[in-house]
């Protein structure tokens, strides 16, 4: 009887336990030279404070923009 219950639990919970955690990410390869840079709109800040308007890449059309990703604030990365 206990084996039946255990088996039933394993069948119902098994898939849930095996599922990928929600936060897992599949890193895709970096964009190649020549690719169109995707537009984005995200909050920005300077040393003078948070910018009133978000940063939108297409606002800089015609300029050269360096997008320097980094790991985390206040670390060397």
């Amino acid at each position: 009887m206990r084996m039946l219950i255990t088996a039933a639990l394993a069948l119902t919970l098994g898939p849930a336990l095996a599922a990928q955690p929600a936060a897992a990410q599949e890193p895709s390869p970096p964009l190649e030279v020549g690719a169109t840079a995707p537009d984005f709109t995200i909050p920005g800040a300077t040393r003078y404070g948070v910018l009133k308007e978000p940063i939108k890449l297409s606002d800089f059309s015609g300029k050269t923009v360096v997008l320097a990703f980094f790991f985390r604030a206040r670390t060397r990365g």
Partner: protein, 106 residues
């Protein structure tokens, strides 16, 4: 970040024609405070849900973080140069970036 600050004038033409945007998944208030404390001359931007990192292929192995990839977007809106990853402790990384920017801008 500090090397960008210290080399800002010569590397990024002091912000003329070249816009440096440093992006991480940190909250914007964290980035603003850091920019203020360390006096960065350039723009910091918060990719809190790492959607921009995902679009550019700049996600770190760990969830919720971007990595150290760098992309230069030219005036035509296309990727003109990339450093994947940008080797921030290597002086040649800055030389190569400077040369790439020179080729685009000047």
């Amino acid at each position: 970040m500090h090397a960008y600050r210290d080399q800002y004038a010569q590397l990024f033409n002091d912000g003329q024609d070249v816009i440096l945007i440093a992006i991480s998944a940190d909250p914007i208030d964290t980035l603003a405070a850091w920019a203020r404390d360390d006096q960065f001359q350039y723009v910091m931007a918060s990719d809190a849900d790492t959607e921009v990192g995902r679009m550019y292929g700049a996600l770190a192995g760990r969830a919720g973080l971007t990595n150290r990839n760098l992309f230069v977007v030219g005036p035509d809106g296309k990727i003109a140069y990339r450093a994947v990853p940008f080797r921030e402790v290597d002086p040649t990384a800055y030389e190569e970036l400077g040369a790439a920017l020179d080729a685009i801008v000047r």
